[in-house]
Symmetry: C2
Subunit: 212 residues, 2 copies
């Protein structure tokens, strides 16, 4: 499969983890989001949102990281990214969506640029914004893990799921932007577990060929 | 099923549409988000993010609207919210995620309050922010519909899917906040189609008993 990616993108990070877990070989095309590669008309025709990742699998052009993860789980069921029972699947999806649909959309490049360039925020104001919303998501994740009997080394059960993928892409920007992670011991226990797994570790931003 | 809801919440609107499409009876509990009902400790114990919706189905407490929609589709398969073929499912999910995971998280109450109260933005600055990001999502949706051979009266195929639900909760705030919808004729064709369907129309914010 062909992946359009940028090393620092948390959304591309999620898809790299899933491809690695499934053992799917990929060919990367690198876009430098800070240099504006995503606004190239040829890429816009592929991905009208002008964001990464895009995954091309034969004739299918796939966009939005969660839609890609679900597609990979449907077309390559082993190992599963979700448990079997519907309520457990919903818990894992809901947990991941705290990152994917609440925290992360607030700190992507287009938002940071708008706040800095158009609203003339200082770096300090931007960092306070990022830490506030990443922290709110981490707090919710910590509370969910505390209340969830099937959490432990992983968010749910004995193997990584979509929930762990969302947890990793919540913690990674928190580290990058200097959040206090000691407040979230359950989250960090899971993070430390999964980042020893090659599928996760090899997908990390710093390990990508386009990392600076 | 028991739904914790607020009439103006776009996320609760999505869940109301899906419950109506599936013919599932619900009992509503109303939270007034502008009055802070979501911060009540009893509700925080149910939903650590302190947001709506929460859906309770027997012993399962479900959170995050997209996780709830997928749960409803798994436990009540008819009528389906997604097509059968994996690439088509991914297209519908990806389309909906433009609303759920990109546009909508930027305009929820906590963000509006932060920008107005903590950053002292003017109403005009807030409206420019909302229109910018809702507009970016609508533009991407219009381009996706234009390129998608199976779109027409609905986003995909001959019946409503998750994509149409995401489209409706993109258009509704655009109308509320005064965006120019004439720029998106394909989006509006679908909106006008689905809003004639009772499952959609009855779920609209203005039709809820807690509407002001």
């Amino acid at each position: 499969m062909k992946l359009y990616t940028y090393y620092r993108s948390q959304a591309a990070f999620r898809v790299r983890i899933a491809l690695n877990l499934k053992g799917i070989a990929r060919e990367d095309t690198y876009l430098h989001l800070e240099k504006g590669d995503q606004f190239d008309p040829a890429y816009k025709a592929l991905n009208p949102q002008m964001v990464v990742p895009t995954l091309v699998d034969g004739g299918a052009t796939l966009f939005q990281s969660l839609a890609i993860l679900e597609y990979l789980d449907e077309t390559h069921p082993e190992p599963p990214l979700l448990p079997r029972e519907p309520a457990a699947r919903a818990w894992c999806r809901g947990f991941a969506l705290i990152n994917i649909a609440d925290s992360h959309p607030l700190i992507v490049p287009r938002i940071r640029h708008y706040l800095l360039d158009e609203m003339q925020w200082s770096q300090e104001q931007l960092m306070a914004w990022i830490r506030r919303w990443i922290g709110a998501g981490l707090e919710a994740m910590e509370a969910l893990l505390a209340a969830h009997e099937q959490s432990g080394r992983f968010c749910h059960g004995g193997a990584p799921t979509l929930a762990d993928i969302g947890l990793v892409t919540q913690v990674t920007p928190a580290r990058l932007f200097g959040g206090d992670l000691s407040l979230y011991p359950r989250v960090m226990r899971v993070y430390d577990t999964v980042m020893t797994i090659p599928a996760f570790a090899d997908a990390a931003p710093a390990r990508q060929p386009d990392a600076e």
